[in-house]
């Protein structure tokens, strides 16, 4: 009996320590945006919305969120479209060297990371005139995400039934029509997964935009956030806390949506 009680006490103590460890760093993000004069200390907020007003007036805050949106949606669209086409072709047609190609893609995507490739990517962007180009950044980010996306989608396409495509072909549909009207509706959950995965990846990416975009008006929220707390002088905590919160909310909403709809089981691959 005492052993049982001790076990219970031990269990809840551990859970309490865990909760504290994971909650304490986050408390500030929840309280400071609603506090009129926030310090680094976590305090009970006085529920003011002045800080959100201040964000509206900041010249780069809201535009940077728009830039983040532009970069992540642009990359997601490109990655979904190109990986769907490639994955479909690789799934249905035995191109010569297909298996070696898929293996090489998977290997490449895991070894060529932002850290390993930052020097040549920076050089490449300089040579191609892609510094300060959001389109260039979208292309570079897409190139990094495509191998894993093709790999995940190919698995998905392999497991969809082919009988619909056969019947569409019997009725005289062209291959492109079959892909657009038969295959895409069938694999929509897979496409949605890739889109969410790509958006999440780009939304949080700091290194690539930090390297390749020097114009503040083009920089996404990740870079503006970093600039806000590292630039000289006293950090503006009202701005930082509120901006951090606004920047985080979409990620949390997306997570809630995905976990509600599919159950959050990404199993690797979500982060690189």
């Amino acid at each position: 009996m005492t052993r049982f009680v001790l076990g219970r006490i031990g269990f809840y103590t551990l859970i309490a320590v865990l909760l504290a460890f994971f909650t304490i760093p986050l408390l500030w993000l929840a309280s400071a945006p609603l506090t009129s004069d926030p310090t680094y200390e976590v305090r009970v907020p006085d529920f003011t919305f002045d800080n959100f007003q201040a964000i509206l007036e900041h010249p780069y805050a809201l535009p940077s969120l728009y830039n983040s949106l532009l970069l992540s949606v642009g990359t997601a669209l490109l990655v979904v479209a190109l990986s769907a086409l490639a994955a479909y072709a690789l799934s249905r047609v035995r191109l010569p060297g297909r298996d070696a190609l898929l293996y090489a893609l998977l290997l490449l995507s895991s070894i060529i990371t932002g850290t390993a490739a930052m020097v040549p990517l920076f050089q490449l962007a300089v040579e191609l005139g892609l510094i300060d180009s959001q389109l260039g950044l979208i292309l570079i980010l897409s190139g990094g995400l495509l191998p894993a996306a093709i790999f995940m989608l190919k698995d998905f396409m392999d497991s969809t039934p082919k009988s619909y495509e056969e019947s569409a072909r019997v009725f005289g549909a062209s291959p492109l029509q079959i892909v657009a009207h038969v295959v895409v509706p069938l694999v929509r959950p897979g496409l949605a997964t890739i889109a969410v995965w790509a958006v999440a990846n780009v939304w949080g990416n700091f290194l690539m935009p930090y390297l390749l975009l020097s114009d503040v008006e083009k920089q996404p929220a990740a870079v503006i956030m970093y600039t806000l707390y590292t630039e000289g002088g006293q950090a503006n905590l009202r701005l930082l806390s509120t901006f951090g919160l606004l920047y985080s909310v979409p990620v949390v909403l997306m997570y809630l949506f995905v976990s509600k709809k599919y159950g959050f089981r990404f199993h690797g691959g979500i982060k690189r």
């Binding site: 909760l19 680094y40 690789l90 998977l106 495509l146 072909r169 951090g244 949390v252």
Partner: protein, 311 residues
């Protein structure tokens, strides 16, 4: 839905090998059109992923610089960059710090804590489990720029929450213990992945095996060692390789300590940035990148072999 229809498909294909080609290429793409479908993706991958990887190998052999005469007219210097890296204490310092970072925050921190949480909550249901898991996952999904600043605020010497909680006055954690700070931070940041993986793995351990071990009087540790570990060995190895790879390539420490003070938390990822893009020694930075690529290659090949052997 897909699962329900594929088995009959398979049996038909094996029974009638001539029908196979037609049923696989159901839309009648043919090789040329299939190639055209795959081409745009492969082009982007080639230009922005494969080419940079090859170029980094070449750049590492040159004296390329961001500015100055070597910027206009770079010369091939052979293995000089690699040799000077080997003789450079800052390179070894960064390598050693990276080893500490990967071992401390990934292998010990994330795997240990992730497994501990999954084990503690293995047969729990209800709100407690959801709250703990939700918070751990929240730390993982928030943008790295935001969580980095949250930790800068937490550890701040002047009024940071940690000092207030511990009553340590104005102790400057980031200046006095920069490595410890980023190791604890990265444990906090990345535990979710290991927790979810072990949660799924523990669900596959047959309850009857645990039950009989319990009836035979096995203690908690004995159950873990003799029943659970043999079942999840594969998961542990997969998990170790993946998070080591991610942690090794993680640039987030830069946003917390920027490698400082005095290079005391300058892991290799930050080191490359500092030598190549801040000091402008692109050639030398590329040589260090090559080392990173090679280490990634070893880990990734090992991981893919493991995946294949499982299939």
């Amino acid at each position: 839905m897909a699962q329900a229809t594929s088995p009959p498909d398979l049996t038909r294909e094996t029974a009638e090998p001539t029908a196979r080609r037609y049923s696989v290429d159901a839309a009648g793409l043919g090789r040329w059109r299939a190639g055209a479908f795959a081409a745009p993706a492969l082009l982007l991958i080639t230009v922005f992923l494969v080419f940079p990887a090859l170029w980094v190998l070449y750049l590492g052999l040159t004296d390329y610089r961001l500015t100055g005469t070597a910027a206009a007219d770079p010369k091939v210097v052979g293995l000089d960059n690699f040799l000077s890296a080997l003789g450079e204490p800052t390179f070894w310092n960064s390598t050693w710090l990276t080893v500490q970072f990967v071992l401390g925050s990934a292998v010990i921190g994330q795997v240990g804590l992730g497994f501990a949480i999954a084990w503690l909550l293995r047969d729990k249901r209800g709100p407690l489990k959801r709250i703990v898991e939700g918070l751990v996952i929240l730390a993982w999904i928030l943008p790295s720029a935001v969580v980095s600043f949250l930790w800068v605020a937490l550890l701040d010497a002047d009024g940071g929450t940690l000092n207030a909680l511990l009553g340590t006055g104005d102790y400057a954690w980031l200046l006095d213990h920069p490595m410890l700070s980023i190791i604890v931070f990265n444990t906090w940041r990345g535990t979710a992945f290991s927790m979810m993986l072990y949660g799924a793995a523990l669900g596959n351990v047959p309850p009857s095996h645990l039950e009989s071990a319990r009836l035979a009087g096995a203690s908690g540790w004995q159950q873990l060692r003799d029943v659970v570990f043999p079942h999840i060995k594969g998961h542990i190895l997969t998990n170790l390789l993946l998070i080591s790879l991610w942690t090794f390539n993680d640039f987030t420490p830069f946003m917390i300590t920027a490698g400082g003070p005095d290079g005391k938390s300058e892991v290799l990822a930050v080191h490359v940035y500092k030598v190549a893009l801040q000091s402008g020694q692109l050639g030398y930075g590329a040589a260090v990148s090559t080392v990173i690529l090679l280490i990634n290659l070893v880990v990734a090949v090992f991981y893919l072999r493991l995946l294949r052997s499982k299939k």
